[in-house]
């Protein structure tokens, strides 16, 4: 899956979890850019991302994420 394809699916996950069809994310997106992305919704986001890509992040991977770009890096690492 290319980085672009991953973003295609990732945008849908964000749109569903935050219930906003207009959300699009990119490498630089951080939590404060998305309305409602607090620590509780972060949990749902991680679970939805895991389920969407059929992967399971390790605990360490999800605690230090700086932006969406890093999340995509981790997804790619799991998929390859």
């Amino acid at each position: 899956m290319t980085r672009e394809e991953i973003y295609g699916k990732l945008n849908e996950v964000f749109q569903d979890v935050f219930d906003d069809e207009d959300i699009t994310v990119n490498d630089a997106t951080v939590a404060s850019d998305v309305e409602g992305w607090d620590s509780l919704e972060h949990i749902n986001l991680i679970v939805a991302v895991e389920r969407c890509f059929g992967i399971k992040f390790t605990m360490g991977e999800t605690t230090g994420l700086k932006n969406v770009g890093e999340m995509v890096d981790k997804i790619i690492a799991h998929l390859s």
Binding site: L40, I43, N44, R51, T58
Partner: protein
């Protein structure tokens, strides 16, 4: 909503929960009951609350939540909390898990020490439940404990008193014993739900250490659904009856084409045995008071021939009504509902044919139509939906099928009388009309939650509330039990209200439709008036609040001799009866007390 019925897609629910909630709230014509639910958690409960809300809304229950601060379940319950007091919960859910057990046996502990550990853990929980019952007089739901995800002693963890598994099992036994001896207390059996989910996947240490969720976030829908089943049963939202297709549902093959001798039922081959197990499963519901009916496209003769096979577990006699004809099934179910006098939405319709299922689901709003697949999935799909979740098996439940049968006999008998009063007298009716008594509290609460048609205010009450009214000296409470020569109808009428000065307000007045037109409502009013007079009350005020289902009692107070004093735009009316005026009883045939 199909997305919230088993087999549902947990990932979908988690991901789309906001959209699902919007959709649920946008549905029209839903008559919600509002309930205040306090969640006292020993771990994170945020998503448990949000997903639970979806399932409850789907059951027609609109919850308002109180959520304890993280891990404050013990403090909130035992010492109270002004916010929680203010909230006045109808129901408290204590969300504790194996993660909340502070002391587990060590291999060096003696049997006495482990016994003391058990006692101490149990004492802490009994303190919680006792304090909640005392302070809030409400329903309590408590998780039991899930099995640990590792076994230090291997298989001996089960048998050795030092094993965690052994310890958990002993605790669960004690929770069970407590539940057996306490009313308004229910166990949310996460021990079972987690086993079905997979104990190791359930106990996701990552989700625990990161988020302090004591169960995997992915398991929350299964958890919340199981909990919602109990809550909806407590508030009377269970289903009441099965409407069953026959061909390829109760047996393999088509009886009209294949002939009764060739359908697959009995024990001759795998398919027959499978259908036999399903018939046994259905038949076992009779003892729970669930009514069995048939809606089958068949000639009646063929349908009965199928049931007449000696190796058919279900017999003609097991069914209250059999509609085997060529009309559309939604029409047959609607007619069956009318004949038994229950709502068509209280049926569970089981049919192997997706076209029939879609039709019935579309035509009858609120009916449950499980998406059964291959015959080997029938039991699981029906059972896992928890349509008939049991919160206590009452005498009433066991007799219910028989009572509906007796009713049909009464209907036949009435046809042979020219004068209706003569018929009523021939029934030799005897009523017991008295203040709420402890043995009937569960039944009274059940009636307030189930009765829709003969119900003036449609006030829904938990058993705890009912007990409170009974104990309050400003209240008059009455239940009515009616017996006749065909049998005992059990408790069929309930009313209560409260006095303010010399005026008595009727807060609730209901009657089971199984005793319509027998004069029971007049016998009840006589008793209420007598009791009110003995308390120096001079006026009784009655209220009628219209709903989609209670039109039949629009003129109730007029028939009882009340005078209308107010009518609101929505049709709600207020009535008054002056006790200084003579009152003529409408009861002609019931002997009371």
């Amino acid at each position: 909503m199909k997305q919230l019925e088993y087999p549902y897609d947990s990932d979908y629910i988690l991901r789309k929960k906001k959209a699902i909630r919007r959709e649920l709230l946008a549905r029209e014509g839903i008559q919600y009951i509002d309930k205040r639910i306090a969640i006292l958690g020993g771990s994170t409960t945020s998503d448990i609350k949000l997903i639970l809300e979806l399932f409850l809304l789907n059951y027609g229950i609109r919850p308002e939540f109180y959520e304890s601060e993280y891990n404050q379940y013990y403090q909130d319950a035992v010492f109270g909390n002004p916010e929680l007091d203010e909230f006045k919960p109808d129901l408290v859910f204590v969300h504790t898990t194996t993660r909340n057990i502070s002391d587990f046996p060590k291999v060096t502990d003696t049997s006495e020490q482990i016994g003391a550990m058990l006692d101490e853990t149990m004492a802490k929980f009994e303190q919680i439940w006792g304090a909640l019952a005392e302070r809030y007089k409400c329903t309590v739901i408590q998780n039991n404990f899930e099995q640990p995800f590792y076994r230090l002693l291997g298989n001996s963890d089960f048998t050795n008193i030092h094993g965690r598994l052994n310890f958990i099992n002993r605790l669960n036994d004690r929770f069970c014993a407590y539940a057996q001896t306490h009313q308004n207390f229910f166990i949310n059996d996460i021990n079972y739900v987690s086993a079905v989910y997979g104990i190791k996947k359930w106990a996701d240490p990552g989700d625990w250490y990161r988020y302090k969720y004591a169960l995997s976030v992915s398991a929350i829908p299964d958890f919340a659904f199981n909990l919602a089943r109990i809550i909806k049963a407590v508030y009377g939202r269970n289903k009441k009856a099965f409407a069953l297709d026959m061909d390829n549902t109760l047996w393999g093959g088509i009886v009209g084409d294949d002939g009764p001798e060739n359908i697959r039922i009995g024990h001759e081959d795998a398919e027959s045995e499978l259908y036999t197990e399903f018939q046994q499963y259905i038949k076992a519901h009779k003892d729970l008071g669930i009514l069995l009916t048939v809606a089958s496209k068949n000639d009646e003769e063929n349908a009965l021939a199928g049931l007449a096979r000696p190796d058919s577990t279900l017999k003609q006699d097991d069914f209250l009504i059999i509609k085997a004809n060529w009309d559309n099934k939604d029409i047959n179910i609607a007619n069956t509902a009318k004949e038994i006098n229950i709502g068509a939405d209280s049926f569970v319709f089981v049919d192997d044919n997706p076209v029939e299922r879609a039709l019935v689901e579309q035509q009858i709003s609120g009916i449950s139509v499980p998406e059964v697949g291959a015959p080997e999935t029938y039991i699981d799909v029906i059972d896992s939906n928890g349509y008939f979740e049991v919160t206590g098996i009452s005498e009433e439940d066991i007799k219910r099928g028989g009572m509906y049968k007796a009713n049909m006999e009464r209907a036949k008998a009435s046809a042979s009388f020219e004068n209706y009063d003569e018929y009523l007298k021939s029934l030799e009716m005897k009523a017991e009309i008295k203040p709420f008594a402890p043995v009937y509290m569960a039944r009274i609460a059940e009636l307030t939650n189930k009765s829709n048609q003969f119900n003036l205010t449609t006030k829904r009450c938990s058993q705890a509330e009912i007990e409170n009214f009974a104990a309050d000296p400003s209240y008059i409470t009455l239940y009515g039990r009616l017996e006749d020569k065909f049998g005992d109808n059990g408790v069929v009428a309930v009313s209560f209200g409260h006095a303010e000065g010399d005026t008595f307000h009727i807060d609730l007045w209901l009657m089971s439709c199984r005793v319509l037109k027998r004069g029971m409502e007049f016998a009840m009013m006589d008793e209420l008036i007598a009791e009110a007079k003995s308390r120096n009350i001079t006026k009784i005020k009655g209220y009628y609040y219209p709903t989609a289902k209670n039109k039949m009692v629009r003129d109730f107070y007029e028939l009882q001799g009340f005078t209308k004093i107010n009518e609101a735009e929505d049709g709600a009316t207020e009535w008054i009866l002056d006790l200084n005026e003579p009152h003529k009883s409408g009861n002609v045939a019931i002997k009371v007390n």
